[in-house]
């Protein structure tokens, strides 16, 4: 038996209320902010917020959400600001993490998952096939595209059905978010999604074995496309698809070694390598068959399965 001290009880209650007041202020701020740096600051505070500091007051489980949920909510705000195409947050029945619906892709759903990395961070992934789109690390300010899984995502039925415009809208959305994060001093690496930057896209390996080019030649020829030797000063090959050219170029780098790259030439600056991966099955199959060599170089180290 020990003494019941009403004053102590009141003090703890006050402390818990203060804690929940801070929580309410954060959630409110998250809901109203339109400013990226403010949003990032709020999100970081939410992610480190420890509700278990409260000793007496407890949230009913229905109202408690994991960090991935709040990351999803914050990302939805970024995504909405970055595009005219709507982003909706949906909380599926009996689930703890909200899902994202980008209106350009009505048949696909996305969610955030914790990355199994010591550095932390979160993966945005498509829910039906668990294909990752990107990695977002708020602490170390990193925002990277998973080029390998994104290339597979664009070939899935849900994304195929939505068509080229939808892919273009989504890529522009990601590019716009990336541009905003760059201003917040993030390291942003989103290879190949910007229609304006389709030159000198690095392949994973510096060198391509001849057999890989042979196989591109064969699969293209089967679809009546011709892999041609480049006629200009570059060493490389190209395929013309209507008004668009896909070029694979072996470039000399400053480091004195050679590096294979992709260039997509489109006078409208709309077509990206992912557009071609979506529209040309032969190119997609060749690309995924030799992904470790010809896949776009990305920040592979953060993408762990």
């Amino acid at each position: 038996m020990h003494d019941f001290k009403t004053q102590l009880y009141s003090k703890q209650l006050k402390s818990d209320l203060k804690l929940f007041n801070r929580w309410q202020i954060l959630i409110d701020a998250l809901s109203v902010t339109d400013n990226m740096s403010e949003l990032l600051e709020i999100l970081q505070k939410i992610l480190v917020f420890d509700m278990h500091e409260a000793e007496m007051i407890r949230l009913v489980n229905d109202y408690w959400f994991p960090t991935t949920h709040w990351v999803t909510v914050a990302f939805a705000k970024c995504a909405n600001v970055a595009s005219l195409s709507q982003t909706e947050i949906v909380l599926p029945q009996a689930q703890k993490v909200a899902e994202l619906h980008f209106s350009e892709w009505p048949n696909a759903t996305f969610r955030f998952m914790k990355a199994p990395l010591a550095a932390g961070g979160y993966y945005l992934e498509e829910t039906s096939q668990n294909l990752r789109v990107l990695y977002w690390d708020m602490n170390r300010k990193r925002f990277y595209l998973d080029t390998q899984q994104f290339s597979k995502l664009v070939q899935t039925q849900a994304i195929q059905l939505a068509g080229l415009d939808a892919l273009s809208i989504f890529q522009k959305r990601l590019s716009a978010i990336g541009a905003q994060l760059v201003e917040e001093e993030y390291d942003v690496v989103l290879p190949g999604i910007d229609g304006q930057k389709q030159s000198n896209l690095l392949m994973t390996e510096k060198k391509i074995p001849i057999e890989i080019l042979d196989s591109l030649f064969v699969v293209a020829a089967k679809q009546q496309f011709i892999l041609k030797r480049m006629q200009d000063e570059h060493n490389g090959v190209e395929i013309t698809i209507g008004d668009v050219s896909l070029k694979l170029i072996q470039r000399d780098t400053n480091g004195g070694y050679e590096q294979w790259t992709y260039d997509i030439i489109d006078s409208n600056k709309e077509v990206t390598i992912y557009t071609l991966l979506q529209q040309l099955p032969f190119f997609y199959h060749w690309y995924t068959n030799h992904l470790k060599v010809v896949g776009l170089k990305d920040k592979r180290e953060v993408f762990v399965d």
Binding site: E211, S215, F217
Partner: protein
């Protein structure tokens, strides 16, 4: 007969021969100076211009004369090449000429501008002739005779694909084999732990049967690296077969876009000297 007598007898013939050479070189000099390319070719190889030559002897003379140019042949080729290369590009726009390093007289002739296009011959700038790769031409002719959808390697490709499917199925079954092996190992350890008290003789029979199966599965699993190697080899062979077919199809398409059939195209290549010199005027 004195030495002087002999010299006097030989002098006119020798002088005539020297005059021939001087005359030949003067004509060549003048033709080059005035950019009369057709005449340069006539002087380089009169055999091909019988209409301009009345006597057979003169052809031989000219042949001998042109040997005088041996040490400047490469320079003459460099002089003549641009015009011929232009003509070639216009007349055979689906063929590609490539310079041979340190050999201005010859150019490699490739069919098409695609990846790994094949060399179908060598062009000699001085003789305006092409040595054609008969093997490639006969392959293209054979391809032209095939029905639609068929290729020279169709049968081999089918065979190779069958082998690949078999090897892939073997590798695919490996997961099943691993599971089966695991089950056998579990069963064996169960028998061991039961200390043969319960089933007596039947335990021994079961154990032997399981061990036999286990041995067989392990032996099969040991073949995996070898099978993987075979698969890679077969896939490489398939690629070569398909690539050869693809090249031949493209070559045939390119030829038929410009000529009625392959032999007509070959004739055009063989007649390049005549067609070139005629258009030079």
């Amino acid at each position: 007969m004195t030495i002087q007598d002999t010299q006097t007898r030989l002098q006119p013939e020798l002088i005539t021969q020297i005059e021939h050479k001087i005359f030949y070189l003067q004509k060549l000099e003048s033709a080059i100076k005035d950019n009369r390319i057709a005449q340069v070719y006539q002087l380089l190889d009169l055999k091909k211009n019988h209409q301009d030559i009345d006597k057979k002897d003169e052809v031989n003379v000219a042949e001998n004369l042109s040997t005088m140019l041996i040490d400047i042949k490469e320079k003459i080729a460099t002089f003549l090449a641009p015009e011929l290369v232009n003509y070639f590009a216009e007349t055979f726009n689906f063929l590609t000429l490539e310079k041979i390093i340190d050999d201005p007289i010859h150019y490699d002739v490739y069919l098409g501008d695609w990846w790994d296009h094949r060399k179908i011959g060598i062009l000699n700038v001085l003789s305006v002739s092409i040595v054609i790769n008969d093997v490639i031409i006969s392959e293209i002719i054979a391809t032209a005779k095939l029905s639609e959808g068929e290729t020279l390697n169709t049968n081999q490709i089918q065979e190779t694909n069958k082998i690949i499917s078999g090897l892939e199925a073997f590798l695919f079954d490996n997961t099943k084999r691993s599971l089966e092996l695991q089950v056998i190992e579990d069963q064996l350890s169960e028998i061991t732990s039961s200390k043969s008290g319960l089933f007596g003789r039947s335990d021994k029979t079961t154990r032997e049967a399981l061990e036999k199966k286990q041995e067989l599965l392990i032996a099969t699993q040991k073949r995996i690296p070898e099978v993987q190697q075979k698969l890679t080899k077969q896939k490489n062979e398939l690629l070569i077969l398909e690539k050869d077919d693809a090249l031949r199809q493209l070559e045939l398409q390119a030829i038929l876009k410009h000529y009625e059939n392959v032999p007509v195209f070959v004739t055009a290549l063989n007649n390049i000297y005549d067609s070139y010199v005629i258009q030079l005027g």
